[in-house]
Symmetry: C2
């Protein structure tokens, strides 16, 4: 029998507890399948006096993560403390101490990925991060290994469960944004502070990780254009339904062959109802990857939560153990390509849906339409619904335009002009319309 | 620079050509990502004089696969010759010569899996088989690595592209079974002899491989109940649509916790339209895996074809190279659990759809209904459509019953009785109705 490998677990919050529990519960099947004996040797937390959901043998806990890094018996470090300050120090120290690291910290990788993967490459010590994007969905390992021979043409995904839960509730139950958010929080699907879920930044951090895997080098977060779901209203779902669309917070990563540039954005988007992504509801995530050899693939599952995330962390732990004795060909990431140009959002081209709130008086449609025409933006459909009077007795209606494909910048110029007009709310709701393939053959 | 690893490729047909072309075309990105130099050293075919779709350097081809196994310079063998006779000899000889093997041969694994994985375990030499199920979909690696900590509760999938193409065409375009099959052959989606696609056995071979991964040991093919799509007719789609269902050739693998027994079958099935599997159209495959920790996941992509299959083969080749120097913790399969009891098909329980062809005379509904009642099978709906007269002038109608959940054996007993009645076609069409979860939260 080999000597058991020793794990150091930093963090015993939501995910750390899931990891600890799952390793205890399914330990037999893990060792049988992986054929590697292992044990958790130390667990670091912030507050030793805090009650825990799991029973721990005495002496396992420490409130200093350095005890894990400094312990010569510990072979592998699992970072689940979150944040970017202490987590950064911990991961760096672990790699420097030649201990492979498993993390689920997308914020850390978005901020320090470049430096940490460089360090990993220099030291020859892998950093694994399956849990950092897509929760239980094995998207990282699939990108790293299974799709390794593919030039990635695009990655289109729904990768924030909270915002998808809110949008699904609005769509399927007709509730308002506020009601949907409150319920998500009640059910524990949204955190107390859901800012990064709603404003798109959680999805953006994950998108940066997927882009790095697909195109060979970490990118800083100023490279991605991000807008969230704050502006989505019931009336948008009504219009979407009529047009055969659903609304999703969509990550779009696309390689433009002609210019070798990347398109990289997170925006609320209309997607056709017959595309498989349109039926991804609730807290589920889905990621469609299009490769030049494999064609279109899609990965679907729970994008967050204690157990699904623990499943991903443990998969990495097993890989880390398998590769720990001979890390020279490890499956963690190492930068392998130069940075590509990322398109400015204004260069990106799609059809759009724009909803204006306008005062109920003759001429507003004509004014908006003329401005769009002057900016050479074609209109493929327009529709309006009666609104309600405001406190001054003015009626406000919703006026929707479906616009032909044009660069985002061109549309913004038109919208800036329209914002000057009287009786038109200067902040319209604007969603991309994504013409995703239906892949029927 | 390391010495390049040398590959021996056996077979240069559909998939072999895809592998050769892809390795040539995307060689740079493969080496950059994997950081392992490699080259194809020899290619074995049956007929040296046959014209090839790829340009080959002189001296690469041989018509004897033993040249690959015997070449001490060759590190890894890729088996893409198909069949179970020579392929069996080749894989066995390669493992005995301590050369890791990559194969896409599901028939081989269904027939000789038990012996070959035992040999692989004894020799400590891995056998990889990502391409044997799900084509480009990374289901094998995901089961082996990413979901490693999960007890698998069920695997439900559409894993034969040809039959799914036929069913989709029937559903979406209203064509007959025969027309759909002819077109699939014309477009190259069905082979000249599509017997195993239509009768369910191709799906069954893949199901046996997935069962082995999930439950730890190879099973022989007599353990799986298989029925194909031959009996599906347009009228079934009409009824399905009215009821909110679609018809798919479904693989069902399920662990019954109470008895520790496996349910294992391939049958044409009704699935609810709001389940994501119902929208898997054309030659696409999809596999839903439910794990106790990760929850529900789904993998979707092209299940066959030159390039998607090549993508899977090459992923295995890279893994084989990574692990070839230190195979003691390889990610190929080794048996790790005892064989479980598999339920007899008669023990399995679902609601069913049954369509009888009956002569147009009073009393047939009553006769069938009484027989079902006598066998204690509840009817939840019944419906009929007018048919056409046969050559004797007798009108034949389609009579459909939707039946409550009951064991398959109980239904078969009733059907055996009904088959004795006059004026009722003795071979009704019978489909399982699968109440798949909708997973909305
Ligand atoms: N939750 C999810 O669904 C999910 C999904 C994917 C990825 N992730 C990522 O996983 C990571 C952990 O998330 P979580 O939800 O488990 O967080 P959490 O519930 O807030 O838990 C954090 C844990 O880390 C400990 N900790 C914090 N600072 C520490 C320090 N300086 N030294 C030692 N221990 C420290 C805390 O100790 P105390 O218990 O003593 O406070 C706590 O146990 C984050 O990077 C997150 O982005 C989470
Ligand atoms: N096609 C798919 O979409 C697909 C998908 C998944 C898995 N697979 C599996 O992949 C394998 C190959 O399929 P395929 O479609 O590529 O088959 P194929 O087109 O029939 O090609 C078979 C190749 O093997 C060669 N060959 C046959 N017997 C040989 C022998 N005894 N010695 C040396 N070479 C021999 C043939 O040589 P010649 O060229 O000289 O005749 C031919 O090049 C099968 O196991 C199949 O089940 C196929």
């Amino acid at each position: 029998m080999e000597k058991p490998l020793q794990l150091g677990l930093a963090g015993l919050g939501t995910v750390g507890t899931g990891v600890y529990e799952t390793i205890s519960r399914n330990h037999a099947i893990l060792e049988a399948r992986a054929q590697i004996p292992f044990a958790i040797r130390k667990v670091a937390v912030r507050d030793l006096s805090r009650p825990r959901d799991v029973e721990l043998p005495p002496g396992l806990l420490t409130d200093n993560w350095r005890d894990l890094v400094d312990d010569p018996e510990i072979d592998i470090i699992i970072e689940l403390i979150g944040g970017t300050t202490e987590a950064y120090r911990l991961v760096k120290a672990a790699l420097q101490a030649r201990k492979p690291v498993v993390t689920g910290n997308k914020a850390l990788l978005a901020e320090y990925g470049s430096e940490l993967f460089q360090l990993s490459a220099t030291m020859g010590v892998p950093l694994y991060f399956e849990a950092s994007a897509g929760g239980g969905i094995p998207i990282i390992q699939s990108m790293q290994n299974s799709l390794i021979c593919n030039h990635i043409k695009s990655i289109i995904g729904i990768i924030n469960g909270t915002s998808n839960y809110i949008l699904s509730s609005m769509e399927l139950e007709g509730v308002s944004f506020e009601t949907a958010l409150a319920r998500a929080q009640q059910l524990g699907f949204a955190e107390a502070d859901p800012t990064f879920d709603i404003n798109g930044w959680d999805a953006a951090h994950k998108a940066l990780i997927l882009t790095m895997l697909a195109y060979g080098t970490p990118l800083t977060s100023d490279k991605i254009y991000v807008s969230g779901i704050q502006g989505v209203q019931q009336v948008d779902f009504e219009f979407a339904r009529k047009l055969g669309y659903n609304i999703k917070l969509l990550v779009v990563i696309r390689h433009h062959d002609d210019t070798d540039a990347l398109e990289l954005r997170v925006q609320p988007s209309f997607i056709p109802n017959d595309h498989i992504l349109a039926s991804v509801d609730g807290v589920f995530n889905a990621i469609a990857v299009d490769g030049d050899i494999v064609g279109e693939t899609l990965f679907y599952g729970r994008g967050a939560g204690k157990n699904p995330t623990a499943s991903a962390v443990i998969a990495d732990v097993i890989t880390a153990m398998r590769e720990s004795l001979h890390p020279e060909h490890h499956t963690g990431f190492h930068p392998y390509d130069k940075e590509r140009r990322v398109l400015n959002i204004n260069e990106t081209v799609t059809p759009c849906y724009v909803r204006f709130r306008v005062a109920d008086r003759p001429g507003t449609i004509a004014e908006i339409a003329s401005s769009l025409a002057w900016h050479k933006i074609g209109i493929s459909a327009t529709s309006s619904t009666k609104g309600a009077p405001d406190e001054h007795g003015t009626m406000w209606n919703d006026l929707v335009f479906i616009l032909h494909s044009c660069p985002w910048g061109q549309l913004q110029a038109a919208l800036a002009e329209i914002a000057q007009f009287a009786d038109i709310d200067p902040s319209p709701a604007v969603f991309r319309i994504e013409k995703l393939g239906t892949s029927s053959t």
